[in-house]
């Protein structure tokens, strides 16, 4: 099925109706397996048992960043190709992305208390995640500020793209400002420096959370399409009643 065929909301609804339960089941299975593996994995020699929070923290961080990227691509879809589902996808993704970013910040704080001795430190990575969370909140606020969905979608698309251009600059400036968080240990040119026994459950839970995101996202997109249909029908009914 080509990408443009999804422009037909009816076809998308049919596809989403089949895919949502499948993704939900995959998420449950993968997360269950991943958490079991995570609890069986050896504890870290320095961090002890607290390392296990990583199986939630790291996938949430990746998804928080990945969902923003998805929203930026959707923004291009809205502005350049005028794909009718692009702004639905962007709108449905924003609260989920904000949720994953919040989970990342909260689990990081819980881990930081025993390890660094403080729930929050003004470290570069933490701060840039917090800025990402603020960007998400700004986008949610703009969605709520403009009444007409198409207009709101185009405005949010521009904000998302400007934010996307700015994210690397924020990241650079904050890194320059102060850094304490450990450097990247999975995505490196010379291969991951993390032990395979810990890496395997991490990858499984990441897939699980990604499947969870797809299931939530598809369900939210369906809801948004239905919500817009209801809105159109109400407007039509109001126009007829007049």
């Amino acid at each position: 099925m080509a990408f443009y065929e999804l422009a037909n909301p009816h076809r998308f609804m049919t596809l989403a109706r089949c895919l949502t339960p499948a993704c939900a089941v995959a998420a449950v299975v993968l997360l269950a397996v991943g958490f079991v593996l995570g609890f069986r994995a050896p504890a870290d020699y320095q961090q002890g048992e607290t390392v296990r929070i990583m199986y939630i923290h790291v996938p949430a961080a990746w998804l928080g960043l990945g969902i923003y990227t998805l929203m930026a691509i959707s923004a291009l879809g809205t502005l350049v190709w005028r794909h009718p589902l692009a702004d639905v996808a962007a709108k449905a993704a924003a609260p989920i992305g904000a949720g994953f970013t919040l989970i990342c910040l909260l689990t990081g704080a819980l881990w930081g208390r025993p390890m660094w001795g403080a729930y929050w430190v003004w470290d570069a990575r933490l701060t840039s995640m917090l800025v990402l969370f603020l960007l998400y909140l700004g986008i949610l606020a703009l969605w709520r500020a403009i009444e007409e969905p198409g207009q709101a979608g185009r405005a949010v698309a521009i904000l998302t793209l400007v934010g996307f251009i700015n994210v690397p600059i924020v990241k650079f400036s904050v890194d320059w400002w102060n850094t304490l968080h450990q450097p990247a240990s999975v995505f490196r040119i010379d291969g991951p420096t993390i032990h395979p026994a810990i890496l395997a459950p991490l990858l499984v839970t990441t897939l699980g959370f990604a499947a969870l995101f797809v299931a939530l996202h598809l369900a939210a997109m369906r809801n948004e399409i239905l919500r817009r249909r209801v809105r159109t029908l109400r407007l039509l009914a109001a126009a007829e009643a007049r």
């Binding site: 700004g138 403009i146 207009q151 521009i158 904000l159 934010g163 700015n166 924020v170 320059w176 400002w177």
Partner: protein, 223 residues
């Protein structure tokens, strides 16, 4: 085309400086903010001198957020934005001219006022020069980031707070490098010229990105 842009620039400046324009209100807010800080922190001059650059930068940042929402929405309300949209001059350049006028009316007074307010905070003379220089290079970036927010809020009746919420996270790099350069000027642990150049680079980059994104936003929203 230059004449048209100059006309837009002069018109916006005149509107800003006449009654109801609100060009001076940013400086008054800046003064009020700097006055309030010692009440919260205490009249300890060495401490105030240490946090002075940060206070002045935050004050300038917040003051430059005021009135951003009026850049386009005032023209939207009285219909002159429609005329500007129909003009043969590209909307991007008009947005740049309006942004420049807004900076002269609100940003430049902050740059001039900052050294005077620095005296209240007990900053050394070198710091006073540094704060004026970094603000001179940095406030255009704030204005032109704000231009995007102003364009997004063009059709909203009360977009002021929304614009501030949208724009503040984007201005973090300007704040970081601006304060770093100011502290560096006093011989702190950080260098002076590298962050200063980055502030200038951010201003130049936003001078391009801001008007283009603002023009795109206005066209998209008013379709």
């Amino acid at each position: 085309m230059i004449a048209a842009l100059r006309a837009v620039f002069v018109r916006d400046l005149m509107i800003a400086f006449r009654v109801g324009g609100g060009a001076g209100i940013g400086v008054v807010f800046f003064l009020a903010l700097v006055t309030v800080i010692p009440f919260a922190i205490g009249p300890d001059l060495p401490l105030l001198a240490r946090i002075g650059p940060a206070v002045l930068w935050i004050g300038a940042l917040l003051a430059s957020l005021l009135g951003l929402d009026r850049i386009f929405s005032a023209d939207h309300d009285d219909g002159s934005l429609d005329v500007l949209l129909l003009a043969p001059v590209p909307l991007e350049l008009i947005a740049a001219a309006k942004g420049a006028a807004h900076w002269v009316a609100t940003g430049l007074p902050l740059v001039i006022a900052a050294p005077l307010l620095g005296l209240l905070l007990g900053l050394e003379p070198r710091m006073l020069g540094a704060i004026a220089l970094t603000l001179l290079l940095g406030t255009p970036a704030l204005t032109f980031f704000g231009l995007v927010g102003a364009a997004l809020a063009v059709a909203l009746p009360r977009g002021g707070l929304l614009v501030a919420v949208l724009i503040l996270p984007l201005t973090i790099p300007v704040l970081i490098f601006g304060v770093a350069a100011t502290v560096g000027a006093a011989g702190g642990p950080v260098p002076f010229d590298m962050p200063l150049r980055l502030v200038g680079a951010l201003s130049l980059a936003t001078f391009v990105i801001g008007p283009v994104a603002a023009a795109a936003a206005i066209r998209q929203i008013r379709d």
